[in-house]
């Protein structure tokens, strides 16, 4: 996997209705129906921008028209491009969509808007390893520490293609806020990313041995 470059994009979903409407044209009928099921405009907007941007960027990699790309679901429901030529992963929270793309190697990405949690320590006690829990409990800013660990764990779970329910979250410990990809288990590495907006946390996971990461911020209207 030496020489593999992971492309990471952050996209602000705060764009006009006209842009959202035009981006929705890049979606399949099924994807548009799924987006329309959301009750709130914000959820719908995030869903449309994430999938339209995924299709547009995959189209640049493959040369296939965005709407024609065969995006299917893997065994545990992870969206993937049929054929596996390019692997990708998407996440959205608040006003941000985060996307990761890599040739023929799985990637996982998670972005979270920092928000008030019912009980971050209760969540950490249930789902974090002992070392991660100690990191959160000992941190001056418990919330920030929680989100640093959470995004790294979720990125790994997403890279593996398994859902939260099928993963042993307490069975591995992530590096705390490392900016470079660092080994977590025999198979996966994870790095913290710097989102382009304050109040957000993000992380990227990839197969161990995959290193270079290109991060950029994209204007949603440039995807049209």
């Amino acid at each position: 996997m030496a020489g593999v470059v992971i492309d990471v994009y952050f996209i602000d979903v705060n764009v006009s209705r006209e842009v959202i409407g035009a981006l929705a044209e890049l979606l399949t009928d099924i994807e548009r129906a799924r987006a329309d099921r959301y009750r709130f405009d914000d959820d719908r907007r995030r869903s449309i921008v994430a999938r339209a941007a995924t299709r547009r960027i995959l189209s640049r990699f493959t040369g296939t028209a965005a709407r024609e790309l065969p995006i299917v679901e893997g065994e545990y429901g992870k969206p993937e491009l049929a054929g596996g030529e390019i692997e990708f992963n998407a996440s959205h929270s608040g006003d941000l969509v985060a996307l990761a793309f890599a040739p023929q190697t799985p990637v996982g990405i998670d972005v979270e808007r920092r928000r008030k949690l019912h009980d971050a320590l209760a969540l950490a006690r249930r789902y974090f390893s002992e070392a991660e829990l100690a990191f959160v409990e000992g941190a001056e800013d418990t919330g920030a520490a929680f989100f640093i660990v959470w995004t790294a764990k979720e990125a790994i779970v997403k890279a593996s293609g398994k859902g939260i329910g099928a993963s042993d979250l307490r069975g591995f410990t992530v590096p705390f806020g490392a900016a470079q990809l660092q080994l977590v288990t025999g198979a996966w590495s994870v790095a913290m990313l710097e989102p382009p907006m304050p109040g957000y946390h993000a992380a990227l996971a990839a197969r161990t041995g995959v290193e270079p990461v290109n991060q950029s911020t994209v204007d949603a209207s440039s995807l049209l």
Binding site: R34, R37, Y38, R39, F40, D43, R46, S47, S93, E112, L117, H118, D119, A122, L123, R126, Y127, W150, E154, V157, G163, I164, G165, A166, S167, L169
Partner: protein, 83 residues
């Protein structure tokens, strides 16, 4: 505790996680991830809060049963013995 009381606890707990949602307008069979975009963290937050409220252990392998309001109530009925 009867089923109606259990449903009210589930709704109240969910309201704390997603205060913007009018839970009375949500169909009990609707997948909460698809209609109000609850993500993994929101759901785990919800499950931990349910555990605290009802002292019910929710196994990771059961999470797929708790993604609708009706699914939550049914599952918690089984666990608490509510009628």
């Amino acid at each position: 505790m009867n089923e109606q009381e259990l449903r009210e606890i589930v709704k109240r707990t969910l309201h704390r996680i997603a205060p913007e949602v009018d839970l009375d307008s949500i169909d009990g069979k609707t997948d909460l991830r698809e209609e109000i975009d609850l993500d993994s963290m929101d759901l785990l937050n919800f499950f931990v809060a349910l555990h605290e409220q009802l002292k019910v252990d929710i196994a990771e392998t059961d999470y797929s049963r708790l993604t609708t309001l009706d699914g939550c109530v049914q599952y918690l009925r089984e666990k608490t013995g509510a009628v």
